[in-house]
């Protein structure tokens, strides 16, 4: 197969040759590696890559992926990072309207009729910037003579991949991991990896988040070897009985072999102190299941995020250990009882924040140091929940939320408000995904990527279909997907409020944004069917966050009111050198000559963009402290 530029224009083409999404477990060669969290089966490709920027597809270095292509004029670019923050391509911040507002008239493919496919919209777009990335690598010893895949944790917004001149695959969905099997094209010695990144594709219509608009390989890239026996996917299903005493652990393992599926899987469960509780040894098969119960299970929750330790050891037919997979397990019981969300038998109260991934130097390429800082702020201010607005975050964030007992609303990478919300009015005369069959597979794929990757994290209480994407049959299909694959969590979607015809088929909770307390009270007094939460409230733009006490008061008066997520955690602004004084200053939309822009509207955080707290944070600490 050859790469085809017109995939950029087609909403039905969003993944070519990608491996199926699976759980985010990591394989290690030895138990010691697993304990240290350092896998010799993994080879990072982060760092300097060769790079060339093109202003549009027509001027891109076509064929740059060929081994004999003359790349002597390529620059260097650091991965992970945004192309724009390296000085290529204009920085732009815009909220609702699409980034081409005022420059291109566009209607999403098929949105004006099944006979209107929008040929050339992005493949011939004179402003669709292109990044040509090249990385040379030689496999480290542990990866040699193994099956090897490559993992891209985040590439915005459409990418084509080649290895040693061979086309490997294509991916969209900027915020989900894209994984490709490289085995057949690997060669001894040096390999030549090439990635062509396009700023826009049909994915742009699905990724209209209120944020700076970037492109590039902005999260880590790595090679991962699959030993002779490999755990492809792991489903951990811990449940707790109604009496909150007995835990049941159901496991499903999907295994693959380089040659022949033979050997054993040794599965052990330890408590948090390392005491073994259960072990089982089974012959490997394609799909292996195992079950155990724990008589007096220690529950996982915000103030006591107790994690058991699961370890899976795969041994080949000769008995040699070839792969070790550790994974933490948290038991908790989530249910809706008498129309109230209960966690471990207690009414759930969300002291939440929406958190964009943001670093004023690095944009969305945040560091683990940023994450640890954010978790300290959570702990200091009684913040117990986070909504990953409006896309899946870096995988390590989910691990940290498990460890720190932070309840997660895990949101899909979906926001289409520019197609139905214009000048603040609901105007869905054209809308994606809506009911369009041509867009349904793309959004379902996003739901699947989110579920499969993160399904084993106890921190996740809600699967969120996306943000501000109106409502229609495609959202219904996403909701049905989550209910089908996961009976242990709740679905969340606010947009059904805008289209009540779907109220019975989308979202387990009534979710609103920026609803005044008196309107929430009205809803709660009218015998509603679903518990209520604010997916966004207390818009902390500039000097704000007045009147929060009125929301806190609802918690005491209405059991079905379950709190919410403040908008939002950190200002989105960028450090730049002041053109007059040379001093570092924080800049926002419109400061890069970017038009159309929404200017300072990205400055809504409890923290300033440099992660120092805004004065309002002490109020959050007080109000959230009332129900912590």
């Amino acid at each position: 197969m050859q790469a085809d530029l017109t995939w950029l224009d087609d909403p039905q083409t969003f993944r070519i040759n990608q491996l199926p999404a699976h759980s985010d477990h990591r394989g290690y060669a030895t138990v010691a590696e697993a304990q240290a969290g350092q896998s010799s089966l993994v080879q990072s490709l982060d760092g300097n890559w060769d790079f060339q920027f093109a202003a549009d597809p027509q001027h891109r270095p076509a064929g740059f992926y060929q081994p004999d292509y003359d790349r002597s004029d390529f620059d260097q670019l650091t991965v992970p990072g945004h192309i724009e923050l390296a000085g290529y391509g204009q920085i732009q911040y815009i909220n609702t309207a699409y980034p081409w507002e005022g420059k291109h008239y566009r209607r999403p493919a098929y949105s004006m009729g099944a006979d209107q496919p929008a040929h050339g919209m992005f493949s011939e777009d004179p402003e669709n910037t292109v990044g040509a990335y090249v990385k040379r690598f030689t496999l480290q010893p542990a990866l040699q003579n193994q099956r090897v895949s490559i993992e891209f944790d985040g590439v915005e917004q459409a990418m084509y991949l080649w290895l040693n001149g061979h086309f490997v695959g294509y991916a969209e969905d900027s915020f989900s991991r894209s994984e490709f099997d490289l085995t057949r094209y690997l060669q001894p010695g040096e390999n030549l990896l090439a990635v062509e990144v396009f700023k826009h594709s049909t994915a742009a219509f699905l990724e209209d988040q209120d944020m700076f608009r970037f492109s590039g390989i902005f999260r880590s890239v790595r090679l991962a070897a699959k030993p002779a026996l490999h755990l492809e996917d792991l489903t951990i299903r811990p449940t707790v009985d109604a009496g909150l005493t007995t835990g049941t652990l159901n496991l499903q393992l999907q295994l693959s072999a380089a040659q022949q599926l033979a050997g054993t899987a040794v599965i052990t469960l330890q408590d948090a102190t390392g005491q073994p509780l259960w072990t089982t040894e089974q012959a490997v098969v394609d799909t292996l299941t195992a079950t155990t119960t724990i008589a007096h299970v220690h529950l996982w929750q915000h103030h006591d995020p107790y994690l058991y330790h699961l370890r899976i050891c795969l041994h080949n037919a000769a008995g040699d250990l070839v792969e070790v997979i550790p994974y933490p397990v948290g038991f908790r019981r989530l249910e809706i009882k008498d129309k109230v969300i209960m966690l471990n038998g207690q009414r759930l109260i969300l002291n939440g924040v929406n958190r964009h991934e943001w670093d004023a130097h690095r944009g969305r390429a945040v560091t683990t140091a940023d994450m640890h800082h954010d978790l300290e702020v959570f702990a200091d201010n009684h913040i117990n929940a986070v909504r990953t607005c409006h896309y899946p975050d870096q995988p390590v964030w989910y691990d940290l939320c498990d460890q720190h007992g932070v309840y997660m609303m895990a949101e899909n990478n979906l926001e289409t408000h520019g197609t139905w919300q214009k000048m603040g009015a609901v105007e869905p005369s054209y809308n994606v995904p809506g009911d369009l069959p041509q867009w349904q597979l793309a959004v379902l794929d996003r739901a699947k990527s989110n579920y499969e990757m993160f399904k084993n994290h106890p921190a996740i209480l809600f699967w969120s279909l996306g943000n501000e994407s109106y409502a229609g049959e495609d959202l219904v299909a996403m909701d049905a997907y989550y209910h089908h694959v996961d009976p242990t969590r709740l679905t969340h979607y606010e947009g059904v409020f805008q289209n009540r015809a779907y109220a019975d088929r989308i979202s387990d909770v009534e979710s609103r944004m920026y609803n005044p307390p008196r309107e929430i009270e009205k809803y709660l007094q009218e015998s509603p069917t679903k518990p209520f939460l604010d997916c966004e409230y207390m818009h902390d733009m500039g000097n704000s966050l007045g009147g929060m006490a009125s929301y806190t008061a609802l918690i005491d008066r209405y059991p079905m009111y379950q709190g919410g997520f403040i908008w939002d955690f950190i200002d989105q602004a960028l450090w730049v050198k002041d053109e007059v004084t040379g001093q570092p200053v924080l800049r926002y939309g419109g400061d890069f000559d970017d038009r159309h822009s929404d200017y300072e509207f990205s400055g809504d955080g409890l923290l300033f963009a440099d992660r120092t707290p805004k004065p309002a944070l002490q109020e959050v600490r007080y109000e959230y402290g009332q129900h912590d």
Binding site: P516, M538, G542, N543, V580, E600, E619, E623
Partner: protein
């Protein structure tokens, strides 16, 4: 030798001078206000204190149109002027003591108390008045009373206070009140206590805006370490204390006026800090927070334009 139980009063031709041990105040009829407040030889005023009506637009104010609705108060903040001055000595009103009325006085006049009241008339439609009364005793204590006269048809006020612009930037201030930056609808998290603030920090909101409010204070002491007086090379810290009269007061202490903040789109556009803008507030509007594109501040945190407002505080004496 200064009289320690009585005020010395100087019935000048354009000003009223009042002095005592280590202090001298000058009320200027022509400038329409308290022109000079000298204590221990240090001048505390750059220009006469004036009623404050405006706050630099917050993002929420912009979003819900409050600044448009109340824009008259921006003009009032800049262009209110003094229309009347009244003087009372030892509790008795006297005719304004300018020539020839003051020809009957000497250079050795004294009094137990002196009160000077300035009436300011706003350029709003309709116009209204604010009176600011300064009552002095022999310790140099100034009891300040501010009365806003409500008038039907006037929009809600962004703020109501009395603004002092001090000649140089303060090195810091101490206060007894609540921690952090607080507003009427965002003060539950403020911890009561005594706090020191170094310098004159401006809360670095992306777009400069109203900031730095401190609610419910018993007192604030502003400390400076230099003056504009060419004959005063001293850099030892010196302070002035404002204290509550009968109820706690709100204040902000910033290097900028609301207009300076209003004019900047980024922090780096603010001018170099030169002065101290100390504003005592009798009424503070809430900041709101439901959203930033229309939601109003909760009603109980508005400041009505058609109702009277009164507040008092004291500038501590030297005894």
């Amino acid at each position: 030798m200064a009289n320690t139980t009585k005020l010395n009063v100087t019935y000048g031709d354009v000003t009223l001078g009042v002095s005592g041990d280590h202090f001298r105040y000058i009320f200027a009829y022509d400038r329409g206000g308290l022109e000079s407040l000298v204590r221990y030889g240090k001048e505390w005023l750059y220009r006469t204190p004036m009623p404050a009506f405006w706050r630099a637009t917050t993002d929420n104010d912009r979003g819900n149109g409050f600044s448009q609705q109340s824009a008259m108060w921006l003009g009032a903040d800049a262009f209110t002027h003094c229309t009347q001055v009244a003087v009372a000595v030892d509790g008795q009103s006297i005719p304004l003591p300018i020539a020839p009325e003051n020809n009957r006085y000497s250079d050795h006049e004294t009094a137990t108390t002196v009160a000077v009241t300035f009436t300011y008339t706003t350029p709003t439609v309709p116009a209204t008045t604010v009176t600011v009364s300064y009552l002095m005793d022999a310790t140099g204590k100034l009891s300040v009373a501010v009365h806003y006269r409500g008038a039907a048809g006037l929009p809600e006020l962004p703020a109501l206070g009395l603004r002092f612009v001090l000649p140089t930037a303060a090195s810091g201030f101490d206060y007894q009140g609540l921690s952090g930056e607080t507003y009427p609808d965002r003060m539950a998290g403020g911890q009561p206590g005594t706090y020191h603030v170094t310098g004159l920090p401006v809360t670095p909101y992306l777009v400069p805006q109203e900031c730095g409010m401190h609610m419910a204070n018993d007192w604030v002491t502003v400390t400076r370490d230099h003056t504009l007086n060419n004959a005063d090379p001293d850099h030892q810290p010196f302070g002035i204390t404002l204290q509550k009269h009968d109820a706690p007061f709100a204040f902000s202490c910033l290097p900028y006026t609301p207009l300076e903040l209003e004019n900047a789109t980024h922090q780096e556009e603010l001018p170099a800090p030169r002065r101290t803008v100390l504003t005592v507030y009798g009424a503070v509007r809430g900041v709101g927070g439901i959203d930033s594109w229309g939601a109003d501040v909760e009603p109980q945190y508005h400041i009505a334009g058609d109702q009277d407002h009164d507040f008092q505080f004291e500038i501590a004496g030297l005894a």
